[in-house]
Subunit: 206 residues, 2 copies
Amino acid sequence: MALGWARAGQEVIIGSRALERAVQAALAINREVGRTAATGMLNREAAAAGEIVVLTVPYDAHEKTLLDIREAVRGKILVDVTVPIDPQNPRRLRIPSDGSATEEAQALLGPETRVVAAFQNISYTHLSQGEAIACDVLTCGGDAQARQEVIRLAGLLGLRGLDAGPARNARVVEGLTVVLMEINRRYKVRGAGIRVTGLPDRDNEK
Amino acid sequence: MALGWARAGQEVIIGSRALERAVQAALAINREVGRTAATGMLNREAAAAGEIVVLTVPYDAHEKTLLDIREAVRGKILVDVTVPIDPQNPRRLRIPSDGSATEEAQALLGPETRVVAAFQNISYTHLSQGEAIACDVLTCGGDAQARQEVIRLAGLLGLRGLDAGPARNARVVEGLTVVLMEINRRYKVRGAGIRVTGLPDRDNEK
């Protein structure tokens, strides 16, 4: 996603727990786009420097990372891409007591930070190979304007973002990732996605 | 769905708590298809007479209806179309303690009946108007062969059924209905649906 945004002319900051890894990832993006679009920082500094913060960590690291960046993201939009997969069984969800990783993040960060669930359903395979991605981005969260911002970010990646309403709907959107992984496995494909049909701006959906 | 299956040459039995309503619904189908394809019966008799039983009731009537037909469906496939919507707020799920209406039905009916979740995401508007439906049918349940039977039933309606794995995934598929209703409301459409992309047999999905 960082590469996609860099290609779309955005300035991107990569965060990591290890500065060296963040810097290497940023350099790889800069080589790819042929300009200094990306910078590498430690997670907390990246969160402090960014305007919109995108969290893409395994569920195991979700709470710890959020606690680390909590003050740094105050007042910003945090895009949570986390799917609460059961570490004992990656085909299952470990459903958080708050209902979803997104609601958990919102509870941890407090009301001044606007959490938006998005991008969980996009296949890593497609993203990393720069392939065309036939998958909509469902955005959920407590703030309508923040959802629109994330829809705009999806658009910069060539993806259609859709407003899927309040944070409680994130449990469905997060869970959909596990269903798509199940479909990948059963149909021997690597990048099943979803498209919402029946919307006026798409006529090739039949 | 009954009309669609009647059109596809199947024999259909309509069940209701009121015999008169079942008979009227069956007659309407027979007029439409020009042959005696449908019969009306009380729920329990319909469940006893049918080979595959499809349950489409509001969540409020879910448990009561299942208890009524429990013996009649033993050994059969029960297709559960129920979405556990909160009667106090139809934009929310009331998540059952078993995780989904489907898992609840399976627990109520016991292991001899094979419950398959399906058809929850199909817009009633589209179905009732006989419109072409751009929506896949995700099937979930504990028995793989039963899921394949339901995929075949979806095919008779001109819909693509997909195997979405075990019953626990039904919470996502049921919840998706609420997300689609949210999208209907926000985008002022009446029949948002979903298509799974990235599968080999569809090339017009981009």
